[in-house]
């Protein structure tokens, strides 16, 4: 299928046999219909054969948005998708002892099944007195069964991203932390872990607000 559906004069050419009405006029009408700059809504193509991928501007009646662009699929028109709807609400996730949620900043997750993203917010502390984390000890932070669903395993089974940590008071000291998301077995789950990677004495909490991955 082509964009312009034209009539061709049968070979061998013989101008005595050209029927201007059926063979030429129909072609010029086809050009006229499909080349008009403002004839670009899906309805305007209703009576014309067009190939997949043909685009048309399509008003969105719900949001009064005249700039939505539709693509012809061969049978119907695919509209541009809503960007906001696919995110779930924030869901609290359980924190695995000995770690605790940082007071005022519970750990929550949300999922976008369309773009296949998970995002976290909130933070954890080591214990009820917010002692400093030890360097390079990895803590699995959640036993939550919702986000542990293997559906949400990161691509490749492993993901690491910087997490923020409380400042260290020692001059010249260094504070930093990472979050690790990985697929584990026994039981099979998606494990979210944190690891403090700064100097001793820092890291009274680890925040996960910027952490997100693709499943």
């Amino acid at each position: 299928m082509t964009y312009f559906n034209l009539n061709y004069i049968t070979d061998p050419p013989d101008d005595e046999l050209v029927n201007p009405q059926t063979q030429l006029n129909a072609n010029f009408t086809e050009f006229d219909n499909k080349l008009q700059p403002f004839r670009k809504s899906p309805a305007d193509f209703k009576n014309y054969t067009i190939p997949k991928g043909t685009e048309a501007f399509d008003p969105d009646p719900t949001h009064n948005d005249p700039t939505r662009i539709a693509a012809f699929t061969g049978t119907t028109w695919a509209r541009s998708l809503n960007h906001i709807g696919p995110w779930t609400g924030w869901q609290l996730i359980d924190i695995r002892p000995p770690l605790l949620p940082r007071p005022g900043f519970p750990v929550q997750a949300r999922v976008n099944s369309l773009t296949r993203q998970v995002e976290l917010q909130g933070g954890v502390i080591l214990n009820s007195t917010s002692d400093a984390f030890s360097r390079s000890t990895t803590y699995e932070i959640t036993t939550d069964t919702t986000i542990n669903d293997l559906t949400f395993a990161p691509v490749g089974g492993y993901y690491m991203e910087m997490a923020s940590s409380s400042a260290i008071t020692t001059a010249g000291g260094y504070a930093g932390a990472v979050a690790i998301v990985e697929t584990k077995t026994n039981p099979s789950r998606v494990a979210i872990s944190v690891r403090y990677q700064g100097d001793a004495g820092g890291g009274n909490f680890i925040m996960l607000d910027n952490v997100g991955w693709w499943f």
Binding site: Y3, D15, V18, E55, T73, L81, P86, T115, S136, V178
Partner: protein, 229 residues
């Protein structure tokens, strides 16, 4: 001899219709598919080669199925670069397929794309660019701290950020402190509005860090112009 753009044959004979096949039928045949878009099969890879120019579109024939997260969509070529490959922005779908960035993007012979966690890029229909995966030093051992390295060639126009941005990048693994080899290390990447890329690692360099995770890099595209390589 034909017209400039579509190579249409122009009749030179006076009077009658002349050669109908050359002057009419063949011209119509040249025009028939002029507005056709390349159709990529459902789930197929978007082109990484071919005569496409920035601004060209292809259509990927995916099913309309938001449950399985597939959606038919046109994709607009917004970057075409000998180092970074071709990058297509979705129009109807929310997000493009993830594209493996080719190994040609590595500018430093001490580094490579992680063989398991491929460095990939996706674009969304709002104009965001997302990275995931990792690059790593070719040999195990600590990354050099307190010095900046490029690692990657400059981003091409079309997928550069609107303004220079800095992101933290996670570096790992670091061995457990009980082994005596623990290091404290982190990293950052600067992604310049002119495409310039710079990494820097912080901390003590007695760790065994090697992998550099790029999943934190997500920015609105906005260099303001498109061009071909």
């Amino acid at each position: 001899m034909g017209t400039n753009y579509y190579n249409l044959t122009l009749s030179t004979g006076p009077g009658n219709m002349g050669d109908v096949k050359n002057n009419i039928t063949d011209n119509f045949k040249k025009l028939a598919s002029r507005n056709d878009i390349t159709v990529i099969p459902a789930g197929g890879a978007l082109p990484q080669s071919g005569s496409y120019e920035v601004g060209d579109r292809v259509y990927r024939d995916d099913p309309m199925d938001t449950t399985n997260r597939t959606w038919p969509s046109n994709y607009l070529l917004i970057a075409k670069d000998s180092k970074w490959g071709y990058h297509w922005r979705p129009i109807q779908h929310v997000i493009s397929p993830w594209v493996d960035v080719p190994a040609t993007v590595i500018s430093d012979s001490n580094y490579e794309i992680h063989p398991t966690y491929k460095f990939q890029v996706a674009l969304d229909s709002k104009g965001y660019c997302f990275w995931r995966g990792a690059v790593r030093a070719k040999t195990a051992g600590a990354l050099p701290v307190a010095t900046s390295v490029n690692v990657l060639y400059a981003l091409p126009p079309g997928i550069r950020p609107a303004t220079t941005i800095m992101f933290p990048v996670a570096v790992g693994p670091v061995t457990d402190s009980s082994t005596g080899k623990a290091g404290n290390i982190s990293g950052r990447i600067v992604v310049g509005r002119d495409g310039f890329i710079s990494f820097r690692w912080f901390g003590t360099n007695n760790g065994v860090s090697r992998d550099v995770w790029l999943g934190s890099v997500r920015y609105p595209i906005g260099a303001g112009w498109f061009t071909s390589a």
